[in-house]
């Protein structure tokens, strides 16, 4: 772990001891949220632009970023006033090394420029362009592959039959239809991260807390947004008229079984923001799901399905909610005044930014009057840097993202 020094300008150590600055015992440890970018530390570490990332925008970011610091003779404007860095000689760190040693100050230095830019080349509010491909799996009722930058997830939907007679505690007659899907547990999503998608998620361990939380968030979002109607999932049977019936009663329709949808999301590659990608994959897979025509056979007392492809029906999903995640990078810490802290909201964080930021917010938006509108869900955790105004901006960005997604979901 690298330590950031609070060495004042006058005590600037000799440039050939730049490395010593970092390991000086008088330097104190800051935790991740208490990052403070010392003028001295930056001024003495000259990192060259030699290592440039291949993507053109990243190159722009790299070009833009260390301009002030490459030479060392430039004036570094940081909070607390100007500081003249002396020309450093000797040690030079590459960008990658700097990012690995001090991820927080690295990100902060990018964001503190007059035109804030992120290390991956995106602007603060830019989302990654999604790509969706459906129908590629041969054993599923519906499937989707979603790529969001370097994050890739595969979702497969399998439908199985739950007989009404097998339900241990059947819901009473006056249960509202909206709650039926939740009461019976007809949607079973699972997000699996331990597939080797990143070095932190290797198989052999049971799902971590974050993985379990992801599955649960997807499930609760599906229930609260009433995504699937119970009518699409029930298999009904019209009982034939018998002698016991009263003459003016029509034939009764009884629900004999339900379709249960197993929604399995596997993460193939992870570079930040698994929730948005998983939710998009679930939505696309459900949109492309085809359920066979099923009926109750009274002689065999079982449910039979038709194997013909033209007798399948899809699920009615007319109002699709779209999720957008934001991370907040803040320089605040418990040891400083709140007013001194700066914070930036980063849309669609990638793996590096997720490791550095502690605060996160997710906004789920669905349509209202044909355009992006109603907020279905708002989640925020990890800190107090976002206020009402910033949250309002996040909601606005989420609505913009909803419009982008409509094009991809319905066009692709």
């Amino acid at each position: 772990m690298i330590f950031i020094s609070h060495v004042s300008a006058e005590e600037q150590p000799c440039s050939s001891q730049a490395l010593q600055t970092l390991y000086d015992p008088k330097i104190w440890v800051t935790n991740q949220s208490g990052m403070d970018l010392s003028e001295a530390a930056l001024g003495n570490l000259r990192f060259t632009v030699a290592t440039v990332w291949v993507k053109s925008k990243r190159r722009q970011a790299a070009a833009a970023f260390p301009q002030k610091l490459v030479d060392g003779r430039q004036t570094v404007h940081t909070k607390g006033g100007k500081y003249n860095a002396h020309a450093p000689t000797g040690l030079a760190f590459s960008r990658e090394t700097f990012a690995k040693l001090t991820p927080g100050p690295f990100l902060q230095a990018h964001l503190q420029q007059p035109e804030p830019i992120r290390p991956n080349g995106r602007s603060l509010h830019a989302f990654r362009t999604p790509t969706i491909h459906t129908g590629s799996l041969s054993h599923s009722n519906g499937s989707a592959v979603v790529r969001l930058g370097d994050t890739a997830v595969v979702c497969g939907v399998r439908a199985e039959i739950l007989l009404a007679a097998d339900i241990p505690h059947p819901p009473s007659e006056d249960t509202s239809e909206d709650d039926l899907v939740e009461r019976l547990g007809l949607l079973v999503p699972n997000v699996e991260l331990s597939t080797g998608c990143s070095p932190d998620h290797l198989p052999g361990n049971p799902p971590s807390t974050s993985a379990q939380a992801l599955s649960y968030r997807v499930l609760s979002l599906m229930h609260t947004s009433n995504l699937i109607r119970p009518g699409d999932l029930s298999i009904q049977y019209m009982e034939p008229a018998s002698d016991d019936d009263l003459p003016d009663e029509g034939p009764k329709t009884v629900t004999k079984a339900f379709w249960t949808l197993y929604i399995d999301v596997l993460c193939i590659a992870l570079d930040g923001n698994p929730f948005d990608a998983a939710w998009a994959a679930v939505i696309s897979a459900l949109k492309s799901t085809r359920l066979p025509r099923a009926w109750w056979d009274p002689d065999r007392e079982m449910v039979l399905c038709s194997p013909l492809a033209n007798e399948t029906h899809g699920l009615r999903l007319d109002d699709i909610p779209v999720a957008s995640t934001f991370d907040v990078f803040s320089t605040g810490s418990a040891l400083k005044q709140r007013s001194e802290a700066e914070s930036w909201v980063l849309a669609d964080p990638d793996g590096f930014e997720e490791g550095v930021c502690t605060e996160t917010a997710t906004v789920v938006v669905r349509s209202e009057d044909g355009d992006a509108g109603g907020i279905t869900r708002l989640e925020k955790s990890g800190g107090g840097a976002i206020g009402k105004a910033a949250m309002g901006r996040c909601v606005h960005m989420a609505q913009q993202r909803w419009r982008e997604w409509q094009g991809v979901l319905h066009g692709g």
């Binding site: 291949v54 039959i161 547990g185 052999g204 193939i268 590659a269």
Partner: protein, 337 residues
């Protein structure tokens, strides 16, 4: 299925897969093998799909020509395998000293990969596959160059080969022949990923599978014909024995061999055909690995260039040679932001 307390569980009543009724007037034709006995299906292989891993590869055998029968159950399944390699990484502090690289292979079928839904907990067949794969890779990795290190090879099978043909309304019989083709694919994919990760190997290992079939109840060729790359849906009920080998072509060595069934007098022919299948696969493997390395070298050259250069890095890598693209194609394209 046991209830897994860390995952969301099915409804308490328990669910069953749908049972399809037979439709008398729509009798589908069983697919037959149209290629020659010594011809392999088209393969698709690409490396570098997971940037955060040390190395990765994606292997696919696309579905052959689908007959339009209008039936829901697929005629022929495809095989899709993703492999990621994480390593060499340092062993944990409390681990004993090991002078060689500690290789561990994990194979997992996705829940939606097979006809019957699989759970998330690894079962015996997946552990068995992992053991076979480890045997194959141990013979090819130069372990003594990486003391005190470990390497994880993780495979996820997104779409697995079926054991038989399920569209005729008959049950898919066991026999487990599909898993032989899966193992051959796993060996090839793991080999590509290891090379992508830069782990020293003596050679490229490729997996090949062959089977002995008899005429069976559908008529056809005479008994005891040995075929390369058997697709179980084409040879439903006809396979008598099958063999998978992991083969190093330039050293003419077999690191792993798994034979199932009764091959009778054809044992030697069966092994030879499997080795021939592995040689055919190696051509695709070498092409894919070369493409991957060229792309990496191209990116490294771009990185060495200064910021002002206008040269665009290689965003999209060429497909491997003459083989057609797989269906999860956009999974593999690394587009710039």
């Amino acid at each position: 299925m046991q209830s897994d307390r860390r995952r969301l569980n099915p409804p308490p009543g328990g669910t069953a897969p749908p049972v399809f009724a037979t439709v008398p007037d729509a009798k589908p034709q069983r697919p037959t093998r149209t290629r020659k006995p010594d011809e392999h299906r088209k393969l698709f292989l690409r490396t570098g799909i997971v940037p955060s891993a040390s190395g990765s590869a994606y292997y696919e055998i696309p579905p052959q020509q689908q007959q339009q029968t209008g039936l829901l159950v697929p005629q022929r399944s495809s095989l899709k395998i993703t492999c990621t390699v994480h390593g060499p990484r340092p062993l944990p502090r409390n681990a004993a000293f090991s002078p060689n690289l500690l290789l561990s292979a994990h194979v997992k079928f996705a829940p939606f990969a097979t006809h019957n839904r699989r759970g998330y907990v690894r079962d015996a067949s997946e552990r068995d596959l992992g053991a076979h794969l480890e045997t194959a890779l141990r013979g090819v990795v130069i372990g003594e160059r990486f003391p005190k290190s470990g390497c994880e090879v993780v495979l996820t099978i997104l779409d697995g080969e079926e054991d038989g043909w399920g569209a005729g309304g008959t049950e898919v019989k066991g026999g487990g022949w599909g898993i032989m083709t899966v193992l051959a694919g796993c060996i090839t994919a793991a080999s590509a990923a290891l090379v992508d990760a830069g782990i020293d190997c003596v050679d490229l290992i490729s997996g090949g599978v062959a089977a002995v079939k008899y005429a069976g109840r559908h008529g056809g060729q005479e008994d005891g014909v040995v075929v390369l790359d058997p697709a179980p849906s084409e040879h439903d009920g006809e396979i008598m024995a099958a063999c998978v080998v992991g083969y190093l072509q330039s050293r003419d060595e077999v690191t792993e061999m798994w034979m199932k069934g009764d091959a009778g007098t054809q044992v030697q022919t069966l092994i030879d055909e499997a080795v021939k299948a592995a040689s055919l696969v190696r051509a695709v493997l070498a092409e894919a690995v070369k493409d991957g390395v060229q792309a990496k070298v191209g990116e490294a050259e771009d990185e060495a260039a200064m910021a002002g250069s206008a040269k665009e890095g290689k965003g999209k890598r060429r497909c491997s040679g003459i083989y057609e693209a797989g269906h999860l194609d956009d999974l593999l394209v690394r587009t710039p932001f």
